[in-house]
Symmetry: C2
Subunit: 185 residues, 2 copies
């Protein structure tokens, strides 16, 4: 394993309501010195939930995304708030976004997003044994919930509204699970 | 389809060497007004390449990631430079990062990364019919190239250095391709 570069200094160079940007001065093992910038996210990260309603249906949402300025279909997700566990955060997010809670939350894989420039991590979890339970969120408009047939998961890959890398990773992790357990071919 | 919110105003509120942050004032169809922030990336986006060396091997890289401050295994990727096509950019990146060019580049899926907060898009492509051709890049140290057995792709999902959502999505897209063409079960 290569030895990590030494971080000679770090400095916050911009801070907005949402984003904090840090500049780091690094020295690599070979003596090469560089300056890198990164976005520093809150340490808890985020959770992305694959909610399985029954043997044939998962629940997706359609929500406006300010970054790409259009609506997007994705699995529910959100930031982990102070002191929440992954399970608590996942349950709060699905109560707010789809009106269900889950008796069973199973962490599957923790993923990074643009790790060259961002310290963010997202915990992908599967949520099963759902029951109706709605919490009010802070969304500007009601979120559309989209039930999706488990036998048509491949159609999602062709859908121009389904583009988010973490949701695509989660979709495949789900297919992998179904394939291993014999639910689908 | 829901009607997009109206963008009442936008303002650049921070600019560093790498990042530009914009604040948008939006009015949703229901009259609710909100302020969102987003990172504005160069319009060309990025390319992520799955280079297949032969019938049994794909090539990965291990590279230091400033965002998470550790080394990470991933598929080669990089920003599309001015006036480059996706194919040109993909070939330049693999020449710089793994020392190969490809006679065949096939675009597979364009994905977004944190579309709620970022306008970035990455074009995932498959590169086949490779030949040796090295270009110098601007990396601070040589990039380690890791040949990976196609029959052991699932091991990557357990690897703690393989966490980037786009690379995971690309891995599954590759598995999907192999499965459909009968290369693997």
């Amino acid at each position: 394993m290569p030895k990590k570069p030494k971080i000679l200094s770090t400095k916050t160079i911009a801070r907005t309501k949402i984003f904090t940007i840090e500049r780091m001065h690094l020295r690599f093992e070979n003596g090469c010195e560089v300056e890198y910038e990164r976005i520093v996210s809150p340490p808890g990260g985020a959770v992305l939930i694959v909610p399985q309603l029954n043997d044939t249906t998962v629940l997706l949402i359609r929500e406006y995304c300010g970054g790409i300025q259009r609506y997007e279909i994705a699995f529910p997700k959100g930031r982990i708030e102070n002191n929440e566990s992954i399970t608590e955060s996942a349950n709060r997010e699905i109560m707010e976004e789809i009106g269900y809670a889950a008796n069973h939350i199973e962490p599957i894989k923790t993923v990074t997003v643009s790790p060259g420039y961002n310290n963010h991590q997202t915990h992908i979890v599967f949520a099963t044994d759902l029951y109706e339970h709605r919490l009010d969120g802070d969304e500007p408009e009601p979120i559309e919930v989209i039930p999706w047939d488990i036998n048509k998961l491949n159609d999602l890959l062709q859908n121009k509204e389904f583009t988010e890398a973490r949701s695509i990773a989660a979709l495949f992790l789900l297919k992998d699970r179904f394939f291993k357990t014999g639910v689908m071919q």
